[in-house]
């Protein structure tokens, strides 16, 4: 978890009443792409902060509409603002997109397991994000860059549909300009004039340099993308226990009570969403599970 300075502020973590949302005020809504947006939320009182670890999610409640699980995509070192990026696809997220500065959102969380950022210390790290899957991985990049000297090579591969669908464009440009971070972006299709890569993100994996015996991979994106990414990482010699994925299912309670997100013997909300691939390998290949 992030080290929060001793300021006398009250820190919000997983609530003692996990089913009761706290009201967070919207500071800012930013359109990222045509269907993706980011909300920045202020904890309920100025005396409160919010801490989380990379990979965790919150249940966000649009008052009178409904609740959805959304990964936290902000900087874990900044406990004064809570950031979520999401795609407007369902009733709740479409309603959320219409909210403005000053409106309120209910927040329950943070819930779930975390990316193995601490376990990766001393190793090379390969981060593979597809589409909106970049949002849950962005806190990993913030955390690693804050302690860059503790890691070996850091490779970040990001694939998306078209150049117009690229998230966090300004930040990606900053990261690409760093000498201690290998950032490769690819799109599935582009008009002539696009100067970066075109092709699926898996095609980048054979081309990047890392030590497979000392590498941790963190992968997030649509399940089919993760499936082919895992295959490509295995071909490069990564062990199943060195590959971590973030799974998504229909999460409701967030604490493993309701069973909506059951995944074999596990619950995604409580035992996940981040799993080492060796834990879920047999489930991952079962269709319609």
């Amino acid at each position: 978890m992030a080290n929060v300075p001793d300021t006398g502020l009250e820190t919000m973590t997983a609530s003692a009443e996990p089913m009761v949302p706290a009201l967070f005020r919207i500071q800012r809504v930013r359109q990222e792409t045509h269907d993706t947006f980011t909300v920045e939320l202020e904890p309920p009182s100025r005396r409160k902060t919010f801490t989380f670890a990379p990979g965790q999610f919150n249940m966000l409640y649009v008052l009178g509409v409904g609740e959805v699980p959304i990964s936290i995509s902000g900087n874990p070192a900044d406990s004064h603002v809570l950031i979520h990026t999401m795609r407007a696809v369902g009733t709740v997220t479409k309603a959320m997109r219409t909210l403005k500065r000053g409106d309120f959102l209910g927040v329950r969380g943070p819930f779930g397991t975390t990316w193995p950022v601490a376990e990766a210390v001393g190793n090379d790290v390969i981060i593979v994000a597809g589409g909106i899957g970049l949002a849950p991985l962005r806190p990993v990049i913030y955390r690693i860059l804050a302690e860059r000297e503790r890691y070996g090579k850091i490779i970040f591969l990001y694939g998306t549909r078209t150049p117009a669908d690229i998230l966090y464009r300004r930040e990606l440009e900053q990261w690409r300009s760093r000498f201690d971070l290998d950032v490769q972006i690819t799109v599935d299709r582009a008009q002539a004039g696009w100067r970066a890569n075109v092709g699926v993100v898996t095609t980048l994996i054979p081309k990047v340099a890392f030590d497979p015996a000392n590498t941790i991979a963190m992968v997030c994106g649509p399940e089919v993308m993760m499936r082919f990414t895992i295959q490509a990482l295995q071909k490069r010699g990564l062990g199943l226990n060195d590959i971590y994925v973030s799974m998504e299912r229909n999460m409701k309670c967030g604490i493993g009570f309701c069973g909506h997100c059951q995944y074999g013997p596990m619950f995604i909300c409580k035992d996940g969403p981040v799993f080492s691939y060796d834990r879920i390998k047999d489930l991952f290949l079962i269709r319609e599970l």
Partner: protein, 153 residues
């Protein structure tokens, strides 16, 4: 005389080839350079080369009426550009354009086809290698057409 043999011998694409086969290939090889924006070949033109990219980036494009040129794939260092030299009627199916200054080794397809007919072992070794590349590109294309980042994901 300095030849391209030391470079070709260690390239992953030709790794494991017998020395006499490397020598046959070297006889068909030359260094080429393409400036940024330069067209390497056009769809429909005769395909008489393939390229081992040493440095730079190349876009493979398809021109679609009312949509213009669409990039369907990019290739970079270490990649192989072109297999149409191997398959009749030996015509390119795409446009290829250098996105940035690109250096490559060009292999003369006519020269290689002749040597493959004369030495079937060489032909088989090259076919195996190209079959692998075609398989990789086909798999990537299949994933690409899934449109996996679409609305449903």
């Amino acid at each position: 005389m300095e030849t391209l043999e030391p470079i070709l011998r260690v390239h992953p694409f030709l790794e494991g080839l017998a020395p006499q086969h490397i020598q046959l290939i070297v006889g068909c090889a030359s260094n080429v350079r393409f400036d940024a924006g330069q067209t390497i070949f056009h769809e429909g033109e005769e395909a008489n080369q393939f390229y081992i990219v040493r440095h730079g980036k190349i876009a493979l494009e398809i021109f679609a009426p009312n949509r213009g040129s669409l990039i369907v794939e990019t290739l970079g260092e270490g990649d192989i550009l072109g297999w149409s030299w191997l398959i009749p009627p030996y015509e390119w199916h795409l446009d290829a354009k250098a996105i940035e200054l690109t250096r490559a080794i060009a292999l003369d397809g006519k020269c290689l086809r002749k040597k493959c007919e004369e030495d079937h072992d060489l032909g088989y070794e090259l076919l195996k290698r190209f079959a692998h590349i075609i398989e990789q590109r086909l798999e990537a294309t299949r994933i690409q057409i899934l449109d996996m980042y679409g609305e449903r994901s």
